[in-house]
Symmetry: C2
Subunit: 287 residues, 2 copies
């Protein structure tokens, strides 16, 4: 290999520059970044103009980001990278509840409720009873599991998106299972909503002919001592966007049943969460 | 292929979402972006924490960028992507002068000088006579070629980096060849300097054990009607950083001769620019 840059050996020349003492995991990750970045440019024979377009896009994506908005996460979400990283880090045996992305709207320390309570504070939307059990992979109930739930309101907004307008903790709360592993609460049947599409990511979706919608879903984070945390959603199967969630969050096993139990606006959605034991080996660290 | 996301078919699921009417070149580029981005994440089994670290790095890289500073270009430069794109877009037959990156310090419409003029306005640095010919691939002189030259000063700074302190057009100028294709001017033997390393890219270089220096070089942009523009540098071969330019700009054929012609501080650097005819087919456009 020549010490100078050549088109053929471009990635190797760049990676050969890393010093001997580089953190081994950082070396592994950066070697791969360079390898795939160069492979991409070679694959499409990226033009100078396209490169400038890419630099401009990434710069705008950073610059629109703020405390309230993270456009690079939106980019990762809409390119399926967030779901891929989630999948890689949460492989579970068949039968265990699958993970999906956390999303930007989780709030820690939501109020703890009694089984059967309603968490719908604004009285808007179609009422829905959510119930089921938290069990292990053998079907045994898990006592003391915490079910942290959050969803949008009848108009597609989370409380944190409209503070002052939507009551704090609307459609959010935590429930602790007893010895039977059962959870039960009332909230609303969620509705679909668009991700913020007035920035670079929205423009990208527009150029690709993609809509910015997520199908209706309820977020859950289920924790229990000695078990892997489940971060997931349950989805409304008859939603218009169930087959083309703009962030690719839907998995077949997460499409829940929503059954009418009274009139045309009172629902019940049963769903069991199946947990697996916590793993003991943490992954290596690059940063 | 399932309509829902799976780890195995992740890239295919994302790419299948592009609408039928998508610009064909955009489709090609984005399909490749997704393919190689997902291949990278799978290759290293990227952790959630590393993903967050990457999101944070890209966000900071966008946010430090401004009218005066382009950190994403620095990132592209230091990962060898800028040189790769330059190489892909400027393939030339053996014997033709090779391209290298433009860099951020070119200024249009520099003063046009007569052959033999000095462009060193501040009187600092070791004097150097630059001379040679602009010829075609058969060795025939090219008349009316414009040689646009720019370099740093004796302390490693371009005039535009310190306006008011360094005279405007210091070590910059344009020269037009006559019928013999000859150019000749006096400037200084350039010195090595670091790229801006007080931002995210500098931190990255630090973690990889890489220095931020570029070896001493003089920038040239050579244009002539009917010929491909040459954007290049010539390099000082005995520079400390000649083998490890932090932006990978050095090519073997661009290392120029610098010969002492008087005492220990008066130099001569001969270099011929060899041009090829302009291509007639522009590349397809994605944006």
């Amino acid at each position: 290999m020549t010490k100078y840059f050549t088109e053929e050996g471009s990635a190797e020349t760049v990676n050969a520059r890393m010093a001997d003492g580089t953190n081994p995991r950082l070396r592994e990750v950066m070697t791969s970044v360079v390898k795939y970045l160069h492979a991409f440019a070679k694959d499409v024979e990226l033009t100078q103009e396209e490169w400038e377009c890419g630099i401009d896009f990434l710069t705008k994506t950073g610059q629109i980001s703020s405390e309230e908005r993270q456009e690079f996460i939106l980019l990762s979400d809409t390119l399926g990278l967030s779901m891929l990283v989630d999948a890689i880090n949460n492989r579970r045996p068949t039968g265990a509840t699958e993970n999906t992305v956390l999303g930007p709207f989780h709030v820690k320390d939501a109020p703890i409720h009694q089984a059967g309570d309603s968490i719908n504070l604004d009285g808007k939307g179609e009422s829905c009873l959510f119930e089921g059990r938290v069990i292990d992979i053998h079907g045994e109930p898990i006592e003391g599991a915490c079910i942290d739930v959050w969803s949008d309101d009848a108009e597609g907004f989370y409380d944190v998106q409209k503070p002052g307008e939507i009551p704090k903790w609307n459609n959010r709360g935590r429930f602790i299972t007893g010895s039977d592993g059962i959870y039960r609460f009332t909230s609303i049947k969620p509705v679909s909503y668009p991700i913020p599409d007035d920035g670079p990511v929205g423009q990208m979706l527009g150029h690709l002919g993609r809509h910015p919608y997520r199908p209706a879903h309820v977020h859950f984070m289920v924790t229990a001592p000695g078990h892997k945390t489940i971060v997931t959603h349950t989805f409304v199967g008859d939603d218009d966007y169930i087959s083309d969630d703009t962030v690719f969050g839907v998995k077949e096993t997460l499409v829940a049943s929503f059954e009418l139990i009274k009139g045309e606006t009172e629902w019940r959605s049963p769903f069991d969460f199946v947990m697996v034991p916590e793993s003991s080996d943490p992954p290596p660290k690059a940063c």
